[in-house]
């Protein structure tokens, strides 16, 4: 019985953590290049709204997914222009992007609220693997978007740590002046990776409105974009750890609900409030650690994160 509980819990974690997975891996790319983008929540909302709208109007969820990625990319381009070219404050620009995204998605999405059904991305149990005892239900009986997430994790890891462009990406985030001397175009790369971040945040939003909660509801991310940003630090800018964190977060959210049937909870029902707070408490602790220079260095933050690059200026 306990096994079933655990399997269900993990399966649900994998499923509902997928949106955060895409968003946080996208943010890893952006931050690895040295640009902090706090606009994830806004890009996800725009992605979710666009995906639902396009899927409804064209009847094709894949077009919706593509459009969401496109919208995320365009919003991120805006952030890149403001922070890389104009060298404005990345925090302010990112926050502005979140407000733009949530406001715009509410306005443009208003007619979509009436629409209660749109094509969803298909759920596809993988033959044979889905029948495996424990792993089957946890990993191989999911929506297609979840599998795309599985593929993204090793791909992102390999790209960042084992390829030449990945090396350049890390160089730009660690020591842009040196990268520049090597002939790497710092500005172009930062633009590109911020847009990759937007692309993936858009996909994360689409995962919500096309698969996880297939509806358009205003503000439907309910803070998941912020969780994704926090998770990047927790994951030490590593996609594999970000994946573990995303799935874990999905499971932690559900844990209090499952615990409600156990005697421990039944004797102390007010625990519900405490357990619901855990994910946020967790994020705050991670952020506090992340803000300490020494700890941050040990955690492996890109050294130039948050700093605009100015050619021929010292110390950048």
């Amino acid at each position: 019985m306990e096994w079933v509980l655990l399997v269900n819990l993990l399966a649900s974690g994998v499923r509902s953590g997928t949106a955060i997975l895409f968003a946080s891996i996208g943010e890893i790319f952006a931050e690895r290049s040295g640009v902090l983008n706090l606009g994830v929540e806004g890009m996800m909302l725009m992605g979710a709204m666009t995906a639902f709208g396009v899927a409804h109007n064209t009847g094709n969820p894949w077009l919706g997914l593509l459009a969401a990625a496109g919208v995320g990319t365009v919003l991120a381009l805006l952030h890149a222009f403001v922070t890389v070219t104009l060298r404005a404050d990345q925090v302010v620009s990112g926050l502005a992007l979140t407000f733009v995204g949530s406001g715009l998605s509410a306005v443009l999405g208003a007619p979509l609220v009436e629409i209660r059904q749109a094509p969803r991305l298909p759920t596809y149990p993988i033959p044979l693997l889905a029948d495996l005892p424990v792993l089957g239900p946890i990993l191989f009986n999911h929506n297609v978007i979840v599998y795309l997430g599985f593929l993204l994790i090793p791909a992102a890891w390999f790209y960042i740590y084992r390829t030449r462009p990945g090396l350049e990406l890390r160089a730009v985030g660690e020591y842009p002046a040196a990268a520049d001397v090597q002939g790497i175009n710092v500005f172009a790369l930062r633009y590109a990776y911020v847009m990759v971040g937007g692309f993936l945040a858009g996909v994360g939003g689409a995962a919500l409105s096309l698969a996880i909660t297939p509806l358009w509801i205003e503000g439907m991310t309910s803070g998941q974009g912020w969780i994704a940003v926090g998770l990047v630090i927790f994951a030490r800018w590593n996609p594999v750890q970000a994946a573990v964190g995303s799935y874990l977060f999905g499971a932690i959210r559900r844990l209090p609900l499952d615990l409600q049937t156990l005697p421990l909870f039944l004797r102390n029902p007010a625990w519900g409030y405490f357990l619901n707070m855990l994910p946020y408490l967790f994020t705050v602790i991670v952020l506090v650690i992340g803000s300490r220079e020494a700890m941050r260095r040990r955690a492996g933050a890109p050294a130039a994160l948050g700093l605009p690059y100015v050619r021929e200026e010292r110390g950048a």
Partner: protein
């Protein structure tokens, strides 16, 4: 560099706190509102007050959530549109959405009154105190607050409805569905342990026992009105624990979708179109029909006959609906044929006023541990239903509850406790 990081951290923490505020702000609210999504909060300074139109009776609505929630606020806005259509050119309606509860709300309500609106409806529990304050300052403006308990003698009333009657019928339908397929478990997604939610759960459990005596109602407390992915996860954990029908008391229709994906059944809440997400697996939705009551109250205000009261409507007012069973509607395909006449019969009695919420809560009724709570022949009072405790009673001059709404009725899973 380091400063930047501390700044980022502080900002993120603020954002998280704002996001988390959704939870602590809402427990006090005995109504189904969706708290505004976190990012909207910092925009409150920029709320623009709409202007009344000369020569018309101007009515303003203050909403806690976005109209786009597809639930609580959506239903209120449908009511506003109904009012506008019914009274036509004689009235002008305006609204403000996603207004945060607390001091901002007071400023918004005051500005609306100052701008010259004749009547102001505030649709969330957290607007109660601000509305009461402003109502004292503007004796010539009418105020109606939804889901609270404060009022005054001249221009301030409160309004809510007996949704428990519809939840009772929803419970009957859920029980019949389970019984028809040899199942014995129903699930209920409960937002907060407050009197409103508890009486809805109890009504659903009592209704369920009418059609499925061996069924039990399993509860999950989610401590929020609005969180699409959490609501969905709650549905999944209920179904994993064996629930055959999932009834939701929260705002979105996600749980119904989750049930449909597994070929099980769901019952939605709040707004009439909630079942459209999966008409095959959605059995029904108990919904609010605010329009008629809004219209009635505004008409009274216009001809000067309005007298403030604790307005609490039941099914016979026409302000409550049960999808599939109201005039011109057909039951969903998932509703077992044998229960349809049964539900229609009880609903007819409710519509005619022959039966109401007090009949549902008439003893003998045991709690879920098998102890007698309501003795035979005794009915709960309105104060009992609303859980008007001694403090509130002293504040409002209302009678205090004797069998307060802090127990779970038989039918609810025997080991369930109130948080």
């Amino acid at each position: 560099m380091r400063k930047t990081w501390i700044g980022v951290t502080l900002l993120l923490i603020t954002a998280l706190v704002l996001a988390a505020c959704v939870a602590p702000a809402a427990p006090a609210a005995p109504s189904g509102e969706a708290p505004a999504p976190a990012p909207a909060a910092p925009e409150t300074g920029g709320i623009q007050i709409p202007q009344p139109v000369e020569g018309k009776f101007n009515v303003a609505f203050v909403y806690v959530g976005p109209i786009g929630d597809g639930g609580w606020t959506y239903a209120h806005n449908e009511g506003r549109l109904y009012l506008q259509e019914k009274l036509g050119d004689a009235v002008h309606t305006a609204y403000l959405e996603s207004v945060p509860e607390g001091t901002d709300a007071e400023r918004v309500i005051r500005n609306l009154a100052r701008a010259g609106f004749n009547a102001i409806f505030t649709t969330s529990f957290g607007f109660m105190d601000p509305t009461a304050t402003v109502a004292e300052e503007f004796p010539d403006v009418y105020f109606v607050h939804i889901s609270g308990y404060l009022k005054n003698e001249t221009n301030f009333a409160n309004l809510f409805g007996g949704m428990e009657s519809m939840k009772y019928l929803a419970g009957m339908i859920a029980g019949a569905r389970a019984a028809a397929d040899g199942q014995t478990k129903i699930g209920y997604i409960a937002p907060f342990p407050i009197p409103e939610v508890i009486r809805h759960i109890n009504a659903a459990a009592l209704g369920m026992r009418q059609t499925c005596p061996e069924c039990t109602l399993d509860i999950r407390w989610i401590f929020t009105w609005f969180d699409p992915s959490l609501e969905r996860q709650a549905a999944e954990t209920l179904m994993d624990a064996g629930a055959y029908v999932v009834i939701t008391g929260a705002d979105t229709a996600g749980p119904v979708q989750a049930a449909g994906e597994r070929g099980l059944y769901g019952i939605a809440y709040d707004s009439r179109n909630a079942c459209d997400v999966d008409p095959v697996h959605c059995l029904t939705v108990p919904y609010w029909e605010w329009g008629p009551f809004y219209t009635l109250l505004v008409e009274q205000m216009m001809d000067g006959t309005f007298v403030p009261d604790d307005f609490y409507f039941d099914v016979d007012s026409g302000a409550l609906g049960l999808l599939g069973f109201m005039e011109g509607q057909e039951p969903a395909p998932g509703v077992p044929a044998e229960v349809i006449p049964l539900v229609r019969d009880v609903l007819d009695q409710m519509l005619s006023g022959e039966m109401n919420r007090f009949d549902i809560f008439t003893g003998p009724i045991n709690n879920n541990k098998g102890e007698l709570v309501i003795p035979a022949g005794v009915s709960l009072t309105q104060s009992d239903l609303e859980g008007i405790d001694a403090t509130i009673a002293a504040q409002t001059g209302r009678e205090a509850c004797t069998i307060c709404m802090n127990w779970l009725a038989e039918g609810v899973s025997p080991d369930a406790e109130l948080p």
